[in-house]
């Protein structure tokens, strides 16, 4: 019996590690490096307790709490600071790693028919699932140990062994939790896209529930696995309870995934699949119609996500005002200096993060063209009466509209929530302007993607490194006090921070011009090169 279910788990695990001998180490090195770099930087940046308390002051507002979670701000040691600012965001990245790795080895293998080949060999019915779980658990446990002992080995006074291991365990437990979530969705959904989509949705909802909960009502945060991570109070109270809770729930998820896998047929799912259309709708008759049809779900999900993000950030705007109302000194100081209300001064900070996040969906939309090429599907279109320029142009237009929609939804969310919670709400124009001013930077990013697809298709993924770079210098730039040129290596560095700064028409126009040039060159390149696949 157990043979028919679990035979050859070991060989399958080795196969997975062989297939991922670069992928897993890269995630591993990236996450560990990121985790260890930050406290080292903090030691240099905030050597005295006085400076750290100053940092704690600026962190003590609802917007920051919504972003990074609650922290021990009264005793803001280097350890507490690292845990407060980095643990949650790193845990999200670890969750993402688990989601992508699990999908790759479960539903994606099944969808592509590789699982069938494996199953024809003397291999148990549940072996593949459990080999995946095994590999992921080992990876996450190793991650726990490496980051844990790594942090301790930095020799920072406030970072003791127990706290460091708890920090690592927070990351590892989150990874294991999302391993379970993804393993479950891999049974429920019939496609790898669905598996990744649902799992990332859970990750995003967990983050947002925690954000709203941390600001308004802490009980709500206990419904989010990402809330559990921040409840460990690493480097202050060191509470291991949430870790056990996370592992416990993960084990339940593992069992559920195993049960569902055992009772289903290969290549089926539990979410119902409806019989489809007999023919194409009048809408589906050119490349643009096809692209919209293929990306529809993604666009809707991202659109909702952006709206919710805007709403959740907007919902803290009211608290922000009341928080500063109680702190007369700070209110006077900042207002006197800048001539803007405190809430207004937080708008640009929020917008940078949102401006970067809204770049992701249009980029994904544009890069689909390259994905389709690799899957040998653009040749269906190009072998018919569709020119390269028309094909790429359709992708580009949809990507640009997508970006505009995302940025608008974010702004609408932020404005609407602000309207509800603030006594003197912003007018729509202020918020929309502050958001839309990031559109040219987004166009430059899309332009780079077009250029890469058109001229250097092998290097297309570089665009994500660039996005990551922009995120690091803008999100963490002020924290690490990067020089200004570091920010200006990304298009976002040229965007005026409305409403606090003045509009810089020149810079924005130049960005648009650069974007158009990139796009045109990319389009020309695409119509001149061989199609691969």
């Amino acid at each position: 019996m157990s043979d028919s279910l679990f035979k050859n788990i070991g060989s399958l695990s080795r196969l997975m590690m062989r297939r991922d001998r670069l992928r897993i180490p890269l995630w591993f090195i990236g996450i560990s490096f990121f985790t260890l770099m930050v406290p080292i930087a903090f030691v240099d940046l905030y050597p005295s307790q006085q400076e750290r308390d100053g940092m704690a002051e600026t962190m003590q507002n609802p917007a920051m709490i919504a972003m990074v979670g609650p922290g021990n701000l009264d005793n803001y040691t280097l350890g507490a600071m690292t845990a407060h600012q980095m643990l949650l965001i790193t845990a999200v990245v670890v969750g993402l790693m688990s989601i992508l790795l699990v999908t790759r080895h479960t539903r994606a293998d099944e969808e592509d028919g590789r699982a069938e080949m494996i199953r024809s060999l003397p291999v148990g019915r549940l072996s593949n699932l459990n080999a995946t779980l095994l590999v992921l658990c080992v990876t996450n446990v190793l991650l726990t140990l490496v980051t844990g002992f790594g942090l301790y080995s930095l020799g920072v006074e406030s970072m003791d062994l127990e706290g460091s291991l708890l920090y690592g365990a927070g990351l590892g437990a989150t990874g294991i939790f999302f391993t379970g979530v993804t393993a479950l969705f891999a049974q429920l959904s019939e496609s790898s896209r669905g598996t990744t989509g649902f799992s990332i949705a859970v990750l995003m909802i967990a983050y947002l529930v925690r954000a709203v909960g941390d600001v308004t009502n802490e009980t709500l945060s206990w419904f989010s696995p990402l809330g559990w991570v921040t409840q460990t109070e690493v480097y202050s109270n060191n509470d291991w309870g949430p870790i056990f809770l996370t592992i416990g729930v993960s084990v339940v998820l593992f069992f559920m995934a195993n049960y569902l896998n055992a009772i289903r047929d290969l290549e089926t799912g539990f979410f119902p699949s409806r019989p489809g259309r007999r023919g194409a709708s009048p809408f589906l008759q050119d490349p643009a119609g096809l692209i919209v049809k293929l990306q529809r779900t993604g666009i809707i999900v991202w659109g909702m996500g952006m709206l919710i993000m805007g709403l959740s950030y907007g919902s803290v705007l009211g608290d922000l005002e009341s928080f500063f109302a109680g702190n007369e000194m700070m209110e006077q100081m900042l207002v006197a200096e800048e001539g803007y209300t405190l809430t207004e001064q937080f708008i640009p900070t929020l917008m940078i993060v949102m401006g970067l996040l809204v770049t992701v969906p249009p980029l994904m939309s544009m890069l689909k063209l390259h994905g389709e090429e690799k899957k040998n599907r653009v040749e269906h279109l190009l072998a018919r009466a569709v020119s390269r320029t028309k094909l790429m142009g359709s992708y580009l237009i949809i990507s640009i509209l997508n970006g505009f929609m995302m940025i608008s939804l974010t702004a609408i969310g932020l404005w609407a929530a602000g309207l509800a919670v603030m006594e003197e709400a912003f007018d729509f124009g202020t918020i929309y302007g502050a958001a839309l001013v990031y559109y040219p930077a987004m166009l430059v990013m899309v332009g780079i993607a077009v250029l890469l697809i058109g001229i250097l298709p092998k290097l297309v993924s570089i665009i994500w490194l660039y996005v990551f770079y922009a995120f690091i210098v803008l999100y963490l730039g002020e924290l690490f006090q990067f020089p200004e040129w570091a920010g200006q290596l990304s298009p976002y560095g040229y965007i005026p921070q409305l409403p606090v700064e003045d509009m810089n028409v020149m810079a924005v126009t130049l960005l648009v011009v650069v974007a158009v040039i990139l796009m045109v060159v990319g389009l020309i390149g695409y119509s001149k090169r061989d199609i691969e696949g």
């Binding site: 023919g279 194409a280 040998n376 190009l382 020119s387 061989d530």
Partner: protein, 302 residues
């Protein structure tokens, strides 16, 4: 009149030369069989014809237009079936067929419905659920529902059952009867033999043989099976005799076409009881080009 003209086509990928000096000519109303082993360059050639790959050297004209720079114009009159059909997993087969038809600007609903019925295809299912044969049907239905002047079919029957292969062959003959041209790349030599007017064989990126089947047969050997009253002697002294197999008084061998006369004269001296001769099949022809290589190698060693 030639519809398609490939002149000294060379295609390089970096240092690797995939095609070298390929020549193909297809005339109006002609079915051209394009055969060769895996990796010989059939699909690469076809992708150059479609303007998906750019020729490194040489000229590719379809309907008198350049296959690369006038690709879109050319494609308005072409129907194409790829060998490996990858479809969008979350679209139904029916949607894909309609889309493909509309991308050429015309839709032929009645013809489409007829083909769906003929190929016994369920268009309401999502593409991810289709087997290889069913995905192939999507491409075939979309191709044959079009009024094209040239049909480019790259191993179109891989994955089809014999019944569907029959339907496919009917479709090709139908198209031919309307005076259209077909480029059929295939591994199923019996299919090529049955359908094609002319055949081109490609190996390692070079065209090694082109002509009508009769012309090609002329170059090859006839299979002879003979039983005689007395044992045949000194047969192996004749040139052009291959693969002699002896079973008592029965003898099987192959003989080059030009030597057939001498050999039969010689054999008839021994009192023929039974004589069977089979024309060479395309398979023999195809195999012989492989053997050539082996023999060449063996010769080099000895």
């Amino acid at each position: 009149m030639s519809l398609l003209n490939v002149n000294h086509l060379t295609k390089r990928f970096g240092k690797f030369t995939a095609l070298e000096g390929v020549n193909i000519e297809i005339n109006e109303g002609e079915i051209y069989g394009f055969i060769g082993p895996n990796g010989a360059g059939k699909s690469t050639t076809i992708r150059v014809l479609l303007g998906i790959l750019k020729a490194s050297e040489g000229e590719v004209k379809i309907f008198g237009k350049d296959a690369w720079s006038d690709a879109v114009d050319v494609h308005k009159r072409i129907a194409y079936v790829p060998g490996d059909v990858n479809l969008w997993p979350n679209l139904t087969g029916g949607e894909v067929i309609d889309l493909f038809l509309k991308l050429r600007g015309r839709s032929h609903t009645s013809r489409k419905e007829e083909l769906i019925k003929k190929f016994d295809f369920d268009p309401t299912k999502k593409c991810r659920t289709y087997s290889k044969g069913n995905r192939q049907k999507v491409a075939l239905i979309a191709a044959f529902a079009m009024e094209a002047d040239l049909y480019i079919l790259d191993e179109p029957t891989s994955g089809l059952d014999p019944l569907m292969e029959q339907v496919f062959q009917e479709c090709v003959i139908d198209v031919k009867n309307k005076g259209k041209s077909v480029l059929l790349s295939s591994h199923i030599l019996s299919e090529v033999e049955k359908l094609c007017d002319r055949v081109g064989i490609i190996r390692q990126g070079k065209m090694i043989e082109t002509g009508t089947l009769n012309e090609l047969r002329h170059l090859t050997r006839t299979n002879i099976h003979v039983e005689t009253n007395e044992p045949i002697t000194s047969l192996n002294e004749f040139k052009g005799i291959h693969d002699i197999q002896e079973q008592g008084l029965a003898l099987s061998f192959q003989v080059d076409a030009e030597e057939l006369d001498h050999v039969i004269r010689h054999v008839s001296q021994f009192g023929i009881v039974k004589l069977e001769s089979m024309p060479p099949t395309l398979e023999d022809l195809f195999m012989r080009h492989y053997e050539n290589k082996d023999e060449g190698n063996a010769g080099g060693v000895s």
